[in-house]
Symmetry: D2
Subunit: 153 residues, 4 copies
């Protein structure tokens, strides 16, 4: 497995500041639990108001932390003064997200100047054991700060 070298020595603080600006992470009470070059993990404890009709984590909430984990895994490798955009993602819900916490782990598969491809897994913690409940792939775009995301996308 290829190791990634960050272009920005301050990538940790840059990602943490960006995460703090995602107000939805605060609403959900999601926490950034791992950051490394090309990697990110986000954890989300169970609350009743995050659930679908069976009382499990809603697929969209699972996707929300997976999308952010994927975006930040890519963002660790971006140059200073750049923005991150999620272009698209695909997620398979492979088991019910039935448990006390879900954790999304994302890893960069291919880092390019413009596009970065990320894979992610989501695990649910139940009775002290983690079970994989989702798997996905995401395409992320690097947008230099001066450019308008609207124009470039």
């Amino acid at each position: 497995m290829k190791l990634h070298s960050p272009l920005d020595p301050d990538f940790l603080s840059r990602v943490r500041e960006n995460f703090a600006k995602q107000q939805v992470m605060n609403l959900l009470e999601a926490r950034l639990i791992h950051l490394a070059p090309g990697e990110c993990a986000i954890a989300l404890p169970y609350r009743e108001n995050l659930t679908q009709q069976h009382g499990y984590f809603h697929a969209g909430i699972t996707a929300t932390i997976a999308d952010s984990a994927g975006g930040y895994a890519a963002f660790t490798l971006f140059p200073p003064r750049s923005n991150v955009l999620s272009v698209e993602f695909k997620i398979n819900l492979i088991a019910p997200a039935n448990g006390e916490m879900i954790t999304a782990h994302a890893r960069v598969v291919k880092h390019g100047r413009t596009l970065t491809v990320v894979e992610f897994d989501v695990f649910v913690l139940r009775d002290g054991e983690e079970h994989r409940c989702a798997i996905g792939l995401q395409t992320v775009m690097c947008v230099p700060e001066k450019e308008k995301a609207v124009v470039v996308q």
Copy 2:
């Protein structure tokens, strides 16, 4: 375009009851705004705590209402005493979800006994005009009530 005939004459109340059980819809303040055989739309007004780092709706929140709209579009066609599971979905975020409200519109493309395929669009309302901000495809599974979702999936 083929019209869909619901197998369950009470599909409207069945979907509405199910939607009311999705507690995350209540947290987000999402509303069911359209139901017809093979169709569903869900609207979500803007709030700061639904946003990503630029103050737009987070891609995962966009995906959350799209996933539910897709699941319910399929569910309108399911027989009585059945459950709905989201197997997988793919979403392209084609423009910033920057506006006062987003609305996910889902339509059944192919209804099968076990699997139903749904397409969806998400529009953002900005200054009185709707702009498409996302498009996606979803695979949904019908699970007869007596079976365990865990086993079948």
Copy 3:
């Protein structure tokens, strides 16, 4: 529905020349049957050596003409002296591709400077009637000619 304006007045000949270079289209005996700004359709007559284990068109062959149709639908809108790259696609095989011909129809959903999103449908002709057998979404990249695709991607 928004109409697309091509940036290159010679887009028709540019796409046709590019199509002629895709040698696999010749192997499969696929034909370009429709071109318009933001649109492309490709048809593929049945042959036994294009089939999977049940004698239907193989899903990958269906995907092959869909991927080319999507790339060319985007390419009609690209500026002169640019290349087209398929970044990713997702396809749902919604019915057996069992018939005398399949036809992939692709339409641009969102045209951006760098990325273009395309939707496609594939129909199979059987006993004089067309049935939709696949549906998908694709992300396509525009690469200016002087840049190296390898670097940019």
Copy 4:
């Protein structure tokens, strides 16, 4: 990593017979190079008539061997007297498939009674070195032999 136990002791010969019926594999000159419970790999040597406009393997051809490898990875775990259907797949083309051979490696991520989820990687061999050129996810369906695929899907 969880190991998979095949339900059918004769899974190897069953998969090989099925592969031999996929006539398109013969047209492409693709070869089954690895089979184990939950795993399959298919290799495809370079030929000019498999290429897109730059002389690389066409994305659809890459997808064709990936789709078959994924279907057979799942099929190794199916019970005797069952059929395999590709429900959907998503593929990211992460580098040009520029080389002497491509090889698709598929692994089952989750095996269910009805649906099985598979991940795959495609590598291209160039100057004696393998480079990953594509990555994807696939949903595969198990259809008991007596049922009609058309009805079930």
